[in-house]
Symmetry: C2
Subunit: 172 residues, 2 copies
DNA sequence: AGTGTATTGTTATACTATATCAAGAACAAC
DNA sequence: GTTGTTCTTGATATAGTATAACAATACACT
């Protein structure tokens, strides 16, 4: 599969606070359509809406937060399995990532490409950034190789304070 | 604080299946006593029992599994806050680690020392090994430095198949 | 023994996630 | 376009994880 171009300002670092997030969302939805088409699966309206809600949030969003925003036109709230099914689909097709340390989800910054998921989480503004760098993965693989461990999945989540937040007084 | 000697067969890799685990547990409890004394906090009977149950399990253990085994002499089951309070204490004093990707806990392999927590989890036998290697941390810090991120906490959990499990047919 | 602090008990409840079965929508073949 | 099949969603119930709040007890110090 061909490597999708990195979108918006998300390229391995934190977005600038003033970036055009509407654009991020639109790009993400379009990429998702492309990825699903390529994989021969359906990006249904339900799944599209969940993906959109994930992207709309600047921070990792929980399943129940999504649920609260997922009304069915007539304003009735969906049931949990509805959201979890959509999330499972999006995870399975690499359109979102799960943030284990928060029980929450973020949009994938480069869908349609195989990659190890490495996330930085700002404890001040709450935002997440997906990192795209080989060094951590290389180190992990080197260590695993030495002890004869066959890697299946990596969970790498670094919490701390992002550059933008360090450049101003601590958050209220 | 001085660096505690690494105990038993746990030194950055998976225990041999036939290792003397009773010894691991005994050593861990003794270290815990030392650490608590050094920090001027109380390793109460409740906390000691929870720590022992964590160590008795060869795999990451969940809070409710601990709860099920934590009877109060007369066979009555404790309530959740009892276990969570003990776990919080043990986490806070570096005697156990939380495995985010499993909502579970493991005993810390080198308590009383400041260290980044890096865990390998075998998806076959279910066991965990705490890694003690600078390379991953160095890579993470290098990446963080480049994007101006100030690290507060790292969650590094690598799932896969351990060497012992690869050396024999897949688990039943 | 009396006082203040830390720990544990107890009840209730919030939050996260899945199992199960029924109903509906999309698709392929005819 | 009808039929049969498969995928998707709806709906209800329940499992699993974690914390809030307040009461009671134990401990440490004088």
């Amino acid at each position: 599969m061909k490597r999708a171009a990195t979108r918006g300002t998300r390229k391995g670092s934190f977005d600038r606070p003033q970036h055009d997030h509407a654009r991020c969302i639109a790009d993400a939805l379009q990429s998702a359509g492309t990825v699903c088409a390529a994989q021969g699966v359906r990006l249904t309206e339900q799944r599209r809406r969940v993906l959109e809600l994930v992207w709309q949030s600047h921070r990792p969003i929980g399943a129940y937060e999504i649920l609260d925003q997922l009304t069915d036109g007539s304003g009735r709230r969906a049931a949990p399995p509805t959201v979890y099914r959509a999330l499972d689909f999006l995870l399975e097709h690499g359109l979102i990532h799960r943030v284990e340390s928060r029980n929450a989800f973020i949009g994938c910054s480069h869908p349609g490409t195989e990659h190890v998921v490495e996330i930085m989480l700002c404890t001040d503004c709450g935002r997440a950034a997906e990192i795209d760098d080989q060094r951590i993965d290389r180190a992990v693989r080197a260590v695993a190789a030495e002890i004869g461990f066959r890697i299946e999945r990596q969970t790498i989540e670094i919490a701390g304070r992002c550059g933008h937040c360090q450049a101003r007084p601590a958050h209220a």
